[in-house]
Every structure is written in structure tokens, then in C-alpha cells.
């Protein structure tokens, strides 16, 4: 049985703040047993998004992509914000035909291979500063991760994607 909710975090755990996506997955994974009200949640991680991840969208009611973010945060969040959230639409952006797809491009692959609209998807971008090989997570990134984990808990508590859209500081990206 496919879990209704998918959270997909990506990044390289050995590159400093690039580990934010996988670390959020670990943190949420540790909380799942204490929160049956979140329902069925599948947690996935990888180094980067690629074409076959489109198949992971099948059968979901909602999907949250999670990445570290060195530049502008999603959803128009301010530069001082610990994270930003944006709702996504399928898009044929520059990441197509590369080894590193954007979440919007993964959604577009889903459309192309199934002929159907993908489930509602959001991206959570957690602010990171340093991405050097062999570095640990920075102190600022750690605090940003804590804030993001708290937000994901709220998001998982929300009864439907539509209600989240009303509450969150989100803006539709891509498309």
C-alpha cells in the first residue's frame, strides 16, 4: 500500500549544509512512531533528483520535496528566514535532460510518462551556507533545520493539501 504522504529529501550528507534534506528525513523518521495522527508517511532520500523519482509520486495524496538552499528561498521567504515553502507545478525547466532534476521537472516527467496530473507537491528549502566536502552541518543550518522540522510536523498535521495552501507562506513555483 503506497503511503498517502511522501517526503523526499535530497543532498550529499558529506558536504556540510547540503545534508539538510537527508537530515530532515532522519529527524522526521525518528518522530513517526510518536505521531500516528500523521497517517502513512513514506520518507525517501537520494543525492539528487532524477527521472525515475517521478515514479515515486504515483498514488500519493501529497508530496513534500526538501532541499538545502543557498540562494533565494522558495515562496518568497525573506533572506533571514530559516526556510521557505512553495507549492509546485510541473515545469519543463533547464534541469530537463540533466543528471540533476528540479522537483518541477520530476513532476513533468510524471505527466509525460503517465499522462496524468501529479499529486499536489511542495518544496521546502532550508537555508544553508557552506557546502564543502567533509564539513559537518553548520550551527546556523542546525537551527534552520530545527525550525523546518517543526514546520513539517505542522504540515503533516494539516488535514489536506488545500488547507496547507491557505496557511503556509507558499507561492506556486514552476509551470
Amino acid at each position: 500500500m503506497t503511503a498517502a504522504t511522501l517526503i523526499f529529501g535530497w543532498g550529499n550528507p558529506s558536504r556540510g549544509d547540503d545534508a539538510l534534506g537527508p537530515l530532515l528525513i532522519d529527524r522526521i523518521g525518528a518522530l513517526l512512531a510518536d505521531h500516528p495522527e500523521w497517517g502513512a508517511v513514506e520518507l525517501l532520500t537520494d543525492f539528487q533528483l532524477q527521472v525515475e523519482h517521478a515514479l515515486d509520486l504515483e498514488g500519493r495524496r501529497r508530496v513534500l520535496f526538501v532541499d538545502s538552499c543557498a540562494g533565494a528561498l522558495p515562496g518568497g521567504a525573506g533572506a533571514e528566514a530559516p526556510f521557505g515553502v512553495g507549492e509546485l507545478a510541473p515545469a519543463r525547466d533547464s534541469s530537463f535532460s540533466s543528471h540533476t532534476l528540479s522537483p518541477q521537472a520530476v513532476m513533468q516527467v510524471y505527466v509525460d510518462i503517465t499522462g496524468r496530473a501529479p499529486p499536489p507537491c511542495w518544496v521546502l528549502g532550508i537555508k544553508g551556507q557552506s557546502f564543502e566536502l567533509g564539513e559537518d552541518l553548520g550551527a546556523a543550518a542546525q537551527a534552520n533545520l530545527d525550525a523546518a522540522v517543526a514546520w513539517v510536523g505542522e504540515w503533516l498535521n494539516s488535514p489536506s493539501p488545500a488547507s496547507r495552501e491557505r496557511e503556509g507562506p507558499s507561492r506556486r513555483l514552476g509551470g
Binding site: T45, L55, S97, H99, S102, L133
Partner: protein, 489 residues
């Protein structure tokens, strides 16, 4: 020809074109082209503009961590590094011969890696160029265009890749950061349920792989003038081959053939690779330029990867792929094929070989065995070599009495091919760009030549990069006179 167009006599007086980063390859590369007033090409270089010392990251770590740690070198081919490091560490723990279960599990993982990597490259990265033409409308020349024109192609590419990834997940224990391969063997075998899960789809994967070979063969037949000569790199070809000269992507000894297909050396134990090869350096690139030491840098450079492997071996030990290899050899009329586009044909033969191998392995009960690890006399130095999807991958380690790595050296496939890629882009620049007004379509010819090698610049540079294309025209005074961006996010 080897160093023609590598260094211009008067670079300060020439116009400069920069293709940066090269798109649809992994990592961050840059091509610079220096043009004279009449648009003739004077200098072409494929640069690597970023380097991070992964070897230093490994030094000081316990040896048993290394097969897992090295997967973080690259998000594209972590399994190849996982297995090459494991093979080196087999030497360290004195595992002269793995158990049948361990070796076959590793092979299943490895063929899964080849299947997913080759499928992604052909169906998603290369097919837009091949199906629509190198100079076609850039808006159409991407996978979206392929999907629109041939909806089944992209879908098969995704599903082939997914199947390969599933083989990796099941053998490595998880999707990423797998721990399946360890020094001396493996830490899990297949359950009957896992075997049956892969079995149910494998015949379809073999069939789609066979179709892919036919597709690229038809492209060659449809335009032999282009396919036989584009980016031609007559070069020595090096790879591992098995004991009987057969293709073996997991293990073997080193063999090289010269440009005419004659064997130059054979059955060389890769533990002595450092006596065979020298890693040359050039002031304009961070990526090294390996060459066969005895031949020197001018004559000793070589190419690796599918085109070398398919022509280096005497046979392929799976029936459908062997038939395709024979067709490939016959097409060359007794001479090796050196056109860069032939990489795609060879790559699809290997895709078929990987799918067939997976099918054969899934019928082998050794995969369900419980004898997983061996050990023997401890050693302090080991070399592991594997034929990764892009070519020969070398991992070399020294380990002290405290089990800590004191030395690491990695030569990745793309580094082996560095000189050959430079020769290919110079050939293309000379034939297609020189003396003509530069357009995006013409510049894409340069990228097509690079993409034939399926370079993983992430491995070569140890960095993950973004891949929009930027072309900048700069005059002799350094002033930007034109700028073209494609796909910037």
C-alpha cells in the same frame, strides 16, 4: 593531430568563445575556443574548473568505512565507487577469492548500475541530439521533444533506469549509501521474494534493451557519413577483459589495442597500474591527463568506456549482446570504429549485456546463499579496478597497522578519457565551426562530442555542479561582445 589546436601561438590576438558549463553532462566543465578574425579555430580546450581533493577526505579513515564513504564522491555513479573500493579492500583483508554468493551479488549490483546509467544517458541525455539533429531547434532538442515525438522512448528509459536502481537497492540494502558490499564480501544475499520481484520484469528489460540497440543501429545506417566520422578519435583503447578475452565489466586484467585494433598489451595485473600509467598534468585544467608511461604523453593517451570495451574484448558472454557485438565489428570492416557517436552504439550493446546478465543471475541460486564473507592474510596495500559505466575506474589504498587509510588515489573513467575528449572537441571545432559564423546549433556540436563520452565531471572534479549552458564571446581585449544563455534556472 594529437596536440593540434591545443595551444595557439598568439592567444592574446584571438577571439574567445566560452561554453560554460557544458550541459547534459554531470559536473562543471567549460570549453574555450579561440577564433581568428576570419573565424578560423586556433585553439580548443575542454577545461575542468573545479577540484576538491576527495582522496584527502578518505585518508585517516578506517578501511572498512571506505566502501560506504566513497559513494559520497558522486551522485551519479556511487555504486561503481562502492564496488571499486570494496575490491581494493578485499586485498587488504586477504580475501583472494570471494564466495560465489558474494561475487554474484556484487555483479548483480554492478549490472544494475550499468543498466540504469546507460539507460539514462541514451534515452534522456543523448537521444534529443540523435533524434532531432545536433543543430535543430534548441527548444525541441531536449527530452520534452523526444517525449512529444516518441512518447514510448522516454517512458522505457525511465522504467529501465528504475529497474536498474531497484537491483541496486535490493543488493546494496537501500537506495543510496548502500552497505551491501564490504571488505571480503557482502553483508546480505537475496531473499526468494526479492529475487522474484526482480524476475517478474527482467524479460521486459532485456527486450527493451534489444530495441535500443536496434534504434541506434538504424541511426548509424541512416547517416553513416556523420556517424562514422563525427568527433573521430583514433586512439588506443584500454579496458579490463576476462581470462579468455571476453567482456567482463566486474573483474579481469588490463588489455589495450592500438588504433588499428592490434593488441598492445594483455593480461596485465591491475595491481601494478601505477607502473603502467602516468597521471600527467597541464596548467590549464585541474583534471589530469593519464598516459601509458612507456609511450609518453604524445603517444600514450588512450580512451576507455563502452567503445573501448566492445572493441577490446574477443566476445561478450551473453548471446544477444554477442550477436550485436559481431554486427558492430562487421560494420567496421575489420577496423575499429573511432567515431565518437559509436560510443552510443557500444553503450547500448552493453545495456543489453547488463540486462541479460541480470536475467541469468536471477536464475542462479547462489544469490540466495548464506556464505557471505572471507578473509585471509592482512595486507597494507590494495588496488581495486572495475569497469564503471563510463570506463575503467581505479581505486588504490594503503592502510596502516591501525587500520587507517594512509594513502588514496582514484583515477576515474572521465579522467582516463580527458585527452580523448579534448581531441574529439578539436576535431568537431575544426570541421564544423572553423570559418563559419558561430551559432548555438554549431556550438551544440561541441557538446554532442563531449556527451558521447558520457563524462562524469562530478567524479573527475569531486564536485556536484549545475549545468546550464552559457556561451560568451570575448574580444582580444577581454570585453564581452556577445552572450548567449540556454537553460539557466
Amino acid at each position: 593531430m594529437t596536440f593540434e589546436l591545443e595551444t595557439a601561438q598568439n592567444p592574446e590576438a584571438l577571439r574567445r568563445i566560452v561554453i560554460e558549463p557544458v550541459s547534459r553532462v554531470e559536473g562543471h566543465g567549460k570549453v574555450t575556443i579561440l577564433l581568428g578574425d576570419d573565424d578560423t579555430v586556433h585553439q580548443v580546450r575542454l577545461h575542468i574548473v573545479e577540484f576538491r581533493g576527495f582522496e584527502k577526505f578518505i585518508e585517516g579513515r578506517p578501511y572498512w568505512e571506505v566502501p560506504v564513504l566513497v559513494q559520497r564522491l558522486c551522485g551519479i555513479c556511487p555504486v561503481s565507487h562502492h564496488l571499486a573500493a570494496s575490491k581494493a579492500m578485499d586485498i587488504i583483508v586477504g580475501a583472494d577469492e570471494l564466495t560465489p554468493t558474494a561475487e554474484k551479488m556484487r555483479r548483480l549490483m554492478h549490472y544494475g548500475q550499468h543498466l540504469q546509467s546507460h539507460a539514462l544517458h541514451f534515452f534522456h541525455l543523448a537521444s534529443p541530439d540523435l533524434l532531432f539533429g545536433f543543430g535543430s531547434d534548441v527548444a525541441k532538442r531536449n527530452i520534452i521533444g523526444v517525449v512529444a515525438a516518441n512518447p514510448e522512448i522516454a517512458k522505457k528509459g525511465v522504467l529501465l533506469r528504475k529497474f536498474g536502481q531497484e537491483a541496486i537497492r535490493i543488493t546494496a540494502g537501500k537506495r543510496v549509501h548502500g552497505t551491501g558490499s564490504i571488505p571480503g564480501g557482502i553483508n546480505k544475499s537475496l531473499s526468494p521474494e526479492e529475487r522474484d520481484y526482480l524476475r517478474k520484469d527482467v524479460a521486459q528489460m532485456v527486450a527493451w534493451s534489444a530495441e535500443a540497440v536496434q534504434m541506434i543501429r538504424q541511426l548509424h545506417d541512416g547517416n553513416p557519413g556523420l556517424y562514422d566520422s563525427f568527433g573521430a578519435v583514433p586512439a588506443t583503447m584500454m579496458s579490463l577483459v576476462g581470462d579468455d578475452g571476453e567482456m567482463d565489466l566486474y573483474h579481469g586484467a588490463l588489455r589495450a589495442r592500438d588504433v588499428d585494433g592490434e593488441i598492445m598489451f594483455d593480461r596485465l595485473d591491475y595491481q601494478g597500474y601505477h607502473h603502467l600509467l602516468t597521471e600527467g598534468v597541464k596548467p590549464w585544467s585541474y583534471m589530469k591527463f593519464p598516459y601509458i608511461t612507456s609511450l609518453g604523453p604524445e603517444e600514450g593517451w588512450y580512451k576507455v568506456g563502452p567503445l573501448a570495451r566492445v572493441q577490446n574484448c574477443d566476445s561478450i558472454p551473453t548471446p544477444l549482446a554477442e550477436r550485436q557485438r559481431q554486427d558492430f565489428v562487421a560494420y567496421g570492416n575489420g577496423k575499429p570504429q573511432h567515431g565518437s557517436l559509436a560510443f552510443h552504439w557500444a553503450r547500448m550493446i552493453e545495456l543489453l549485456h547488463a540486462a541479460e546478465n541480470i536475467q541469468l543471475l536471477l536464475d542462479d541460486d547462489d544469490l540466495l546463499g548464506s556464505d557471505l564473507v572471507v578473509a585471509g592474510k592482512r595486507a597494507h596495500e590494495g588496488v581495486g579496478v572495475i569497469e564503471a559505466p563510463r570506463g575503467t575506474l581505479i581505486h588504490h589504498y594503503r592502510v596502516d597497522d591501525n587500520d587507517l587509510v594512509t594513502y588514496a588515489n582514484l583515477i576515474v573513467s572521465t579522467t582516463h578519457n580527458n585527452h580523448a575528449m579534448n581531441v574529439a572537441v578539436r576535431d568537431v571545432a575544426k570541421k564544423y565551426l572553423s570559418g563559419r559564423k558561430i551559432t548555438e546549433g554549431l556550438l551544440n556540436h561541441i557538446e554532442v562530442a563531449i556527451r558521447c563520452f558520457d563524462p562524469c565531471l562530478s567524479c573527475a572534479t569531486h564536485a556536484l555542479g549545475q549545468m546550464p549552458l552559457e556561451v560568451t564571446l570575448v574580444d582580444a581585449d577581454g570585453a564581452t561582445i556577445d552572450r548567449l544563455c540556454r537553460g539557466a534556472s
